[in-house]
Amino acid sequence: MSTQAPVAHASAALHGSGVVQRGRPGNGHWHLPQALARIDARWFQILFLASFLCLGALARDFALTWQQVALTFAAALVAQAAWQWGLGLPNRKGWSGYLSAIVSSFGISILVRADSLWVHPLLAALAMSSKFVLRAGPAECRSHILNPANFAAFAAWAWIPGAWLSPGQWGSESLASLWFIALGGLVTQRIQRWDVSLAFLATWAALLAGRVLWLDYSAGVGSAMWLQQISNGATLLFAFFMISDPMTTPQRRSARVAYAMAVAIVAFLWQFVLYKPHGLIVVLFAASALVPLINTLWPTVRFEWRQGEQTPAKR
């Protein structure tokens, strides 16, 4: 494991799938039928994210143009190729890295809004580059620091003119929420990061319930409010497709459960005590910087992307 050149992981992705953990047998594997297990789980992610993007664009009036989507994908793929080949990575000829680029592109398209055509490709290129440039951690689990889609969303809100985030864009429809939970559950289980999603969602839901109880809303209003907040599409997307990224969350399970809970708590304070916008995106961005430190303090052999358990990791 630790014999690999650190950059070699760069082509591995962002949100997870196809991950096989080595070393710590205590971590329960998700047993899938062999055929299913052989498929790189990022394909599932791509399928789900694509359907969410379509749902959003067609049924939710996402303020997004097809040109912006096309440019996002083009820029992400080109940036990925340029880094893979430019650094002469051993796995430069593999397609694994591009899968990650596609997953990131979906994330950026779903999250970022802009009033021009240059914002999306710029963010896509920056996000993919961040994987190669911003890297840290102990040798055995050195990795990129930021989840590319999270980085792009943060940059859009904080730095880029003419770009913004629309946290309310999904509305809060219970039907869509169920779909998210079901699909998200499948993906995260497949990548063994369901613990992060679950820890985050449980903490977030508990904090929101606590707030409603503390503010002492009447039962009817309070429960409706809680449901409206918890079934927000953006929150569910965050839980299943962003904070669950195996590459940018702590490697040891206890550490990453604590991490997910901490992100939920700080984001809650940011949003409901300080009344600042985009708590989840901002806090995950800031918290990511702590992950290499956490991995150093509680070392574990890192996850490694591969395309199914049957074949050796594509390097």
């Binding site: 939710r60 009036d61 303020a63 809004r113 009033d115 003119p161 003419g162 770009a163 913004w164 629309s166 946290p167 309310g168 864009q169 999904w170 509305g171 503390w214 503010l215 002492d216 809303y217 009447s218 209003v221 409706a224 409010m225 449901l227 409206q228 907040q229 927000n232 300080l274 009344y275 600042k276 916008p277 985009h278």
Partner: protein, 588 residues
Amino acid sequence: MSHRPTGARRQTHRLVHTLLAAACVGMGLVIPQASAFCGFYAGKADASLFNEASQVVLVRDGERTVLSMLNDYSGPLNEFALVVPTPTALQQGQVRVAEKATFERLDAYSSPRLAEYHDSDPCRMNFWWGQNMYPRAVPAPMAAAAGAMRSEMAKSRDAALGVTVEAAYTLEEYDIVSLSAKQSDGLEIWLRENGYKIPKGASAALKPYINMGMKFFVAKVNLKEQKRLGYSMLRPLQFAFESEKFMLPMRLGMLNAPPNKPQDLIVYVLTKNGRVESSNYRTVKLAANENLPPFVKPKFKEFYKALYDTSTAREDYKVVFTEYFWDMSWCDPCAANPLSTEELRKAGVFWVGGDEAGNFQQMQIAPGGQKPAQGAVAPSSPPRVLPGRPIPPGGGAQPVMLTRLHVRYTANTFPEDLMFTQTKDKQNFQTRYVIQNPYAGSVAACTATTAKADCEAMCRSRVTDVERMVSEAKKNNWGSPGDYANKSSDALQTDCLKACSESKRSAIEAATRYYERELPERLAREKQTLAKLTGWSLAEIDRMGADSGNVTPVPAKGGDVQPVPPADNRTWWQKLFGAAPVLHAARG
């Protein structure tokens, strides 16, 4: 303006609503049980259309916030009271009486508009023969025809109750108290003991705001003052405060509303950087820029109301609609002129006219410049509008963006107060609809017109011109006159006649295509659009078209004509120092 397409059903509606009471002001709680509070009339498919609508102007930059609320309470004035949760206890000076005109101006400027265009005559003889030889021979009016392009618009007992009176004063016709409370039951008892009529359930609804640390602004009408001032209607109130919360406490207004009864709220948000949207509900743009059949023109208000009804029902009253977003410095087409710097300052836009920190500070200082003593009574000066700070030239340079949000909600569909976020989106948007009037003509008329054109005579003079040009060309070395060279007069005449009759034929063809195919197809498309947008049946629409009698189209003067805002011909110094321009709403 005051045309209200409502009728008996709505009147019953109103009565029911009146009995059920309370505040429909999206913002606060209007106390008297008999409150016909809802119903805002302002001027197009304007807010008057939605007579259960509350209107709020929210001006915000950073944490600085100026909030104005317009209510149209028409019940007994001695029973009127307003309770608004505010982030801080509002002191004298932070509250002023605003002008209803501000709301009307904002409404007029941002209301959905109908743009009207006219087709040009399809029966055009493009008879160019002999006209395009050399630059000076090109007839100027011909070249101009091609260029006609349409631009794409666009705040002992009290202690026992846990209530602290933070401030109490009289402002104009209002008696105002700012309260902080420890328990909601205490607050409810305090309000009752002090002569405010509180609807049942108020305590439960007030509780979360107390727990959030919010204060309460309570106002009632001082009948003596009002009589003295000579006002018969209630004027809007405006608050200036700093708060990290970018929100509207609309839930309190739902107190006595039946859980499924929709109410309307129109929020005009004025910001510096970009469009504002809700952060906890979906924000959706209404369908706009659609072409409608010309006979909709006299029924534009009904159209827009039906469109809004259909759109909100389709979304189950769960979304916030954007009706308008535009940089306040211009508009296209203009439903009304943009607000002047003076008007913006009255609306609470503190960053226009320079020194925004100073301007905002001014808005929080009581008259006389001192923090008021409790119970102090303000001098009854004329309405305190923004302090008369001189506005330096070019003071309007800071951008003012207006987002007009329209929400139709029920207590069930909007369980949370409305939270906002400012985006960096600067793409203008307006609910604009288009009618394109057909040209008043016919194939027969075209045939008759073209028949009258005397090719023989026209050609004779053109041949003469051509021959003169050819000889001049030779003399001045202008180059070869091409097809016209080396031909006899007779040959030229024959060529010209051929071109002339060809142009007649193509004019009749164009007219036939226009009247027999393009127009009916276009009208069918427009009717489909109308049906889709309003939920009206095609049969109804056909009847409407028939009733209108075929709209008498107005012949256009050359090409598409777009509505042009009234020109402001004043000089820059007149604009700076002079009276406000007379505002004309460019209808349609």
